[in-house]
Symmetry: D2
């Protein structure tokens, strides 16, 4: 399939929507991004990369990195699924309600509460969760220049009361074991990694390669890779996962920086970026671009 032509067709088709929606406004570093940015990249399973628009421009990955943290914890053989569920939450991504009714066990690893538990586990397993994650992303993307944006991390920390509440709440149930301030530091740093569409599409390839890393070594079993794809499809786009499955039909994970990573198992990985978000926190032009992709190529999982 001629991915380059597809990307260029998509870029033309979604151009009218680029700039729609609103960038995340709760931290200055995200609010100041130019809303007219749009980039998209495809990495095939052999590592060839195609791109269009701002596909090589770094942006704030935010929640997208939760996929990689999850993969590292599962790769370490952790008994994570005893501490976090695998069901859609049916509630906004930072809800405390469900957590209370379910005794401190988050519904899935992609809502904030669940991602805090995953980071807590990685911190316990490695002693330095955010550095471990950054190193992994550098290796998989082949980009040794990947870095944290300290301004974003500090902004997240300054607006971190809600996540602090989630962490203390789960700690009261014994489901967080590191000191809450340490955990929050690592959590905010991992949200503050800057990557381009090209970087992310490359880094996520293990999900299309049934668990194999860029260097051919095995990160996850075939079954574990499938499981992460399943969780992405059912829980990867906040409380719009059903809508995303319906429109796009691919496993995907979005971030409030405007990026979305998607996977065509056995074929390729995609990353799209445009800062304007819909009311549920997903990139407006990004979702449309992925919808166009599956329509043009027929490569939906359904």
């Amino acid at each position: 399939m001629d991915y380059q032509s597809v990307l260029e067709r998509i870029a033309r088709d979604v151009a009218p929507q680029v700039g729609s929606g609103r960038p995340a406004e709760y931290i200055p570093a995200l609010a100041s991004v130019d809303p007219r940015r749009f980039g998209m990249a495809i990495a095939d399973v052999d590592g060839k990369v195609y791109g269009v628009g701002d596909w090589q421009r770094p942006f704030s990955t935010q929640s997208i990195t939760k996929v990689f943290t999850l993969a590292l914890v599962l790769a370490a053989g952790d008994d994570l699924w005893e501490r976090v569920g695998r069901e859609p939450s049916g509630n906004p991504f930072n809800s405390l309600v469900q957590l209370e009714y379910e005794n401190g066990i988050p519904r899935n690893p992609f809502i904030n509460a669940g991602a805090l538990v995953v980071t807590d586990r990685l911190q316990t397993l490695t002693g330095d969760a955010s550095s471990e994650l950054l190193e992994f992303l550098r290796q998989e993307s082949g980009n040794p220049g990947l870095a944290f944006d300290p301004e974003v991390a500090e902004s997240e920390s300054a607006h971190g009361d809600r996540n602090a509440a989630l962490a203390h709440f789960m700690a009261s149930y014994g489901n967080i074991t590191n000191p809450v301030p340490t955990l929050l530091d690592h959590y905010f740093w991992q949200c503050a990694i800057e990557m381009s569409c090209a970087d992310l599409a490359l880094a996520a390839r293990f999900l299309a390669r049934h668990g194999l890393r860029a260097d051919g070594s095995r990160l996850l079993t075939r079954s574990e890779a499938k499981q992460i794809n399943a969780v992405m499809l059912t829980c990867g786009t906040y409380d719009a996962a059903g809508e995303f499955a319906h429109r796009v039909g691919l496993p995907g994970k979005s971030g409030v920086g405007g990026g979305i990573v998607a996977v065509v198992p056995g074929r390729c990985t995609l990353c799209v970026w445009s800062p304007g978000l819909d009311e549920r926190g997903n990139s407006v032009a990004g979702v449309t671009a992925l919808d166009r992709f599956t329509t043009l190529t027929g490569l939906s999982v359904f």
Copy 2:
């Protein structure tokens, strides 16, 4: 692929689990079924059927028919998605809580509240929802002998207070337009259709054939067929959809009669039946059999 061999292998593998779990007990007709039954069928896109065990024995379809009612309403061009959502519910299948917080709009067409709305629409569109459904199933399965089990329908009706509450509640928001007793009759009758694994695998083929009916005519657009598969994957197995996606990785719809229908888009449809249910209402041996199927064949969508 040699589906017959696969089925026989699965039957051997799941034999130790057949009889586990408990049949649904809320109506006598379900409680009295022999829990040691197990059957499984595969229908390929060309209509060839393979089977093992009790694959030709009729059982109570229960919620599985919700897939077909949904397809008929969408095929009629109804604006259904303004009356029912497409998101996982995150709550047990007959919950009133979410319905109240969301003003009478059910989360998706497969929880009871959503299925009542879909049946209400089909009743409005056709004047006789349950007969319309039965006729469609006879045509697609090629089995003109399909029928309702009146004993099951009466039992459902006698235990129908919860569904009556749901229907009246949505009516108070204007989201049910037929008289509640009429609606409930059609709803209970459609749950009371008896079909075998072979019948169901054949009848669901339009989901693997991108919308084409058994006779080659088009029931749904490619996009609509994909949408139903997406809703099945995210919402088809009560509040265990995440777990089902994780383990099986196929669109599926279960019923408390112990049946599960699953779809491999472009390839085949499957139906498995064994009456023992887990605590979330899905067939224990059925889920295991589908898990084995995707493991043995690699035919998961992920």
Copy 3:
């Protein structure tokens, strides 16, 4: 104390608020009442009645009659408190949410769900709940002309889906034992009784007389009368009970017809009526008038 002077003073003080708020609009018979009506009556424990404004004009009692139904059921020695709680609900008066979390046991006898259970008990105990209630009110008020308004009862029934949902829902837990349509009939009829402020103040005197009826016979033990006053104070004004206790400081029960009955234990009973409601369903001028009463007389229970 010169109750008549107090009433006249109150009437002058609240005059600017009469006409504020909005009459209940969900049924035509309530929506068409003149919002400028205002009446207030006091009945002392010896049966002397004082009044001002429209104090002798009948209005739709609505939820106020729930106090009397409760008294009749307790007087019959029923084990009601095993079927309904005595705690404030913390949620709007017709909420299904709490009912679901608490397995069909309503929080208290004054939310709609609880009042349905109380009426169900009275129906079981007497075979004709609404007639029994009407007869009791005629005797206590000394007004044999009290009657149902059939137009109101029919309107309630025509808008009764929410109450039907509540009743079926509790029936699914076994907490309603009469047929739902029968129960709803009696429930709607008891809401449709027309009474004046004078009638209601007189009829409620047993609450100020520690359980003694108008004819001196005992309806309730001293302890039971105290219990009803306590439930009125904590649960009698929908989800504004705390605010009402705070401002007025008396046991009270309101109805969406704009009436409120209040009790000064050992002293007197009051009834005020003005149709304009606040957003929580209590009469705007009525609450202010009772607030003035306790301020002018110091007769709050606190």
Copy 4:
């Protein structure tokens, strides 16, 4: 009335229940208290004190001090009621659920979330909330030896994740303005004040004296004193306020140390203490003793 005789009668009557229930176990200092302790004191409006049993033995006041913190904030003319409601919560005392649905505004000042807001206000108004409270209690009780128990304060802090979650959560809505660690320190210290039944009955007299302090100066207006009594009656005993109003019929505030303060407006204040708690956190023997008091004296507000 001969309060001393009443107290001695009550002590005999409740003796069989002393030792029932379980002391609070979440901190060692509470768990190690002898469960057979029982004391009760009455202070009349003129300052005369009566007592029985362990009425002069200090115990951990815990949530009882929330009444006094509330009084100090209202006395300072704070606009507290814009930051905290006055309605019963209908949920356990440390619930996050309601707080989320209501945007960070706690239901009332006696649930933990509300008490944190009140302490936050006192800290802002005085710069040293816990010292201000201690000084007030020393003056009103006439006992200059009142002190914090540092061991209790430290234990509270060590088990403080749930309260930290509440505080951070409200801070995310802007409803907490002091730094969370500072706030929690003052909150835990105020829970750690040790007082006897005699001390507490004396210190609470301003609630029976319509706002007048021990020295005759005015702390609160008559209306403000009435408001606090109303909030105690509707919200003072966790989610058992309805039950407490029903059985006892007096404004009351309990603590997990086993103490309960109650008020007979215009007459006297009471404090009872016995460490064994029921499942909702109120002293078993304490509630029974107050029930006996109102039965023997007829001094219920109803």
